[in-house]
């Protein structure tokens, strides 16, 4: 660790992994409820558990991004963080607010939660991914602004690298776009339209900047390739991400009541969205192949390359699969969507956060460039277990989706929704068992942090 204040990243990473475990446990609960309808009913209904699953995902990724920023920004800016105290205070505020929200979801019916948190004063609740009570949303905004202030001040006072500027732009975009979660028009078309400004413009816009910056930071350290080379790649990648992603929002405007021209704009621009993801793959492999040193942290290299490949598969390939309007006409809102959602979120954002943790953790915990060999071996096993599992989860959901679309929407004698769900239950069972293996991989990952090696490592 080059700067003392980078240490504030540590609690953020720990919280991220803790909430990741929670996310997967709830994933297993809803996965079970898919095949055993009254599992845990009425204690934890499906809609509640689903909300916990997806919200935990978003919250732990945000913890991961913030931790990554606290670790990365001082090192890039070559100075201490503006205020480590503020960073720690924000950590606790965010963690407590997040925990209270989850407890709220689980303890009282959603309508009660809405009532007691004053949703009618400024109604923002009840929309997928944005289910948080309005006061939680306000808390998120406050935390985000104070966080941006903290890293912004650090960057202004220090060295301004391309990586820092791209990261700051991405994080600012994340905060600004979240403000649209407060805009909740009565008109359902407008509601949906702006809902996507948060959801789509996050994952297919500003989060790509964050991802690019983190990958670039880690790859510079792991490979020793010149900063100038990596910065050029980064410029082109983020330019492509924004050029395709912003108008690509149109791929969600096909059937929600927006004008028909969106079928053209959405199809054409979103069909180009795989380009930045593909470039990230080429970028990562080129850098690793041109490496000028052998970094001892092999696990971090694996996670970084894994991110590059899986993001392209999940977002690029599985996204393209259903993004053209004539295809989406049939697949919209089916299990194909869920298949894509799982592989894209895992491949791009779960993996990029773990890449950062994998690179930073040895510095934070052992003041060494890499963990011991056994810990790294376990980490690599967990990578393969989780990655192969998500690939199979995606394949099973894709299989379920193809059948669902065919039986329910394409066939001459379409069957009702629930009849079809019954027919494809086998895929949901397979998904569930694969999910269990995913969870085993995750446990192994957690265990790798505590694994002691045979040899002792010299500290850096």
């Amino acid at each position: 660790m080059q700067f003392q204040s980078q240490a504030v990243a540590k609690p953020y990473f720990i919280a991220a992994i803790g909430l990741f475990i929670g996310q997967i446990l709830f994933g297993l609960i809803i996965g079970t409820q898919y095949v055993i309808g009254d599992f845990l009913f009425p204690e934890i209904p499906f809609n509640v558990a689903r909300m916990v699953h997806t919200n935990l995902l978003i919250v732990w990724l945000l913890f991961g991004f913030m931790g990554a920023a606290y670790y990365l920004v001082p090192e890039e800016a070559e100075r201490e963080l503006f205020s480590p105290k503020l960073a720690i205070a924000l950590f606790w505020i965010f963690l407590v607010a997040g925990a209270l929200t989850i407890v709220g979801y689980l303890a009282v019916p959603y309508a009660t939660l809405a009532a007691v948190t004053g949703n009618d004063l400024l109604p923002t609740m009840g929309r997928e991914f944005l289910e948080q009570p309005t006061i939680t949303k306000m808390g998120i905004v406050v935390v985000a602004l104070a966080f941006l202030f903290n890293i912004g001040m650090t960057i202004i006072a220090g060295r301004k690298t391309v990586i820092n500027i791209v990261l700051l732009t991405g994080l600012t975009g994340l905060a600004v776009l979240f403000l649209f979660s407060f805009y909740n028009p009565i008109n359902l078309v407008l509601d949906k339209m702006f809902w996507w400004w948060v959801v789509h413009l996050w994952v297919e816009g500003v989060w790509e900047l964050i991802m690019g910056a983190i990958l670039a930071f880690v790859l510079i350290r792991l490979t020793g390739v010149d900063r100038e080379v990596i910065e050029k790649w980064l410029y082109v990648i983020i330019a492509m991400a924004l050029i395709t992603g912003i108008i690509g929002t149109g791929h969600h405007y096909y059937w929600i009541g927006t004008p028909e021209y969106w079928q053209w704009w959405g199809s054409i621009f979103s069909a180009l969205e795989p380009i930045p993801f593909f470039m990230m793959t080429v970028f990562a492999f080129t850098m690793v192949n041109r490496r000028r040193k052998e970094h001892p942290n092999k696990a971090a290299t694996l996670w970084a390359l894994g991110t590059a490949v899986m993001a392209f598969l999940g977002a690029g390939v599985w996204g393209f699969l259903h993004t053209l309007a004539p295809v989406n006409f049939y697949t919209h809102g089916s299990q194909i969507t869920a298949a894509h959602g799982h592989m894209a979120f895992y491949g791009a954002y779960v993996l990029v956060v773990i890449t950062m943790i994998s690179y930073a953790w040895p510095h934070l915990q052992h003041n060494a460039p890499a963990s011991n060999g056994r810990a790294q071996l376990l980490e690599m096993w967990s990578f393969w277990l989780m990655t192969v599992s998500i690939v199979f989860i995606t394949l099973f959901l894709t299989g379920a989706g193809i059948l669902q679309v065919y039986l329910q929407r394409v066939s001459d004698t379409p069957l009702p929704f629930m009849v079809v769900q019954d027919k494809i239950a086998l895929f949901y069972w397979l998904r569930l068992w694969t999910g269990v293996i995913f969870f085993v991989g995750l446990c192994l990952y957690v265990y790798s942090f505590f694994a002691k090696g045979k040899e002792t490592l010299a500290s850096s």
């Binding site: 192949n289 041109r290 490496r291 192969v388 690939v391 199979f392 394949l395 099973f396 894709t398 299989g399 193809i402 059948l403 065919y406 027919k423 086998l426 895929f427 397979l430």
Partner: protein, 131 residues
């Protein structure tokens, strides 16, 4: 690739070719690729380098298993109502998501190992490699 891996182990080219043909048989050119693979196998079966023989044995065995699985799927379809029945899609998709993709996964790992100049036995369906 960097300098280190360029200095290849004896038999590495054939090992890589075996894995590549195996994958091509599953993904691009079924049949034709398998024929080429068999030809390679019989040429190098006895006196090829150990690395080449190891990868050839894995890929031929796995290709044969792929054939067996295909037969099983078709027998199942015939036994449960024939190719016109509603179950066909179910079996076909299960085959692709479980069987075919697992075989591809083995091939990908095998190819990576071959490119790294290492022997690797496919779990469960693979065959013993010598030394």
């Amino acid at each position: 690739m960097n300098g280190q891996t360029d200095t290849s182990v004896p038999g590495q080219t054939i090992a890589v070719a075996a894995e590549a043909l195996y994958l091509a048989n599953l993904l691009l050119l079924p049949g034709f690729s398998f024929a080429l693979l068999l030809w390679l196998f019989f040429r190098h079966r006895r006196n090829g380098a150990p690395l080449a023989r190891c990868h050839l044995r894995q890929t031929v065995a796995a290709s044969l298993w792929a054939g067996v699985i295909l037969v099983i799927v078709n027998v199942l379809i015939l036994a449960t109502g024939g190719y016109q029945s509603a179950n066909v899609w179910m079996y076909v998709i299960i085959y692709f998501t479980v069987g075919h993709s697992s075989l591809i996964l083995l091939g990908m790992v095998g190819l990576a190992k071959a490119m790294a100049g290492r022997a690797w036995r496919y779990p469960i369906i693979g065959m013993q490699c010598d030394e």
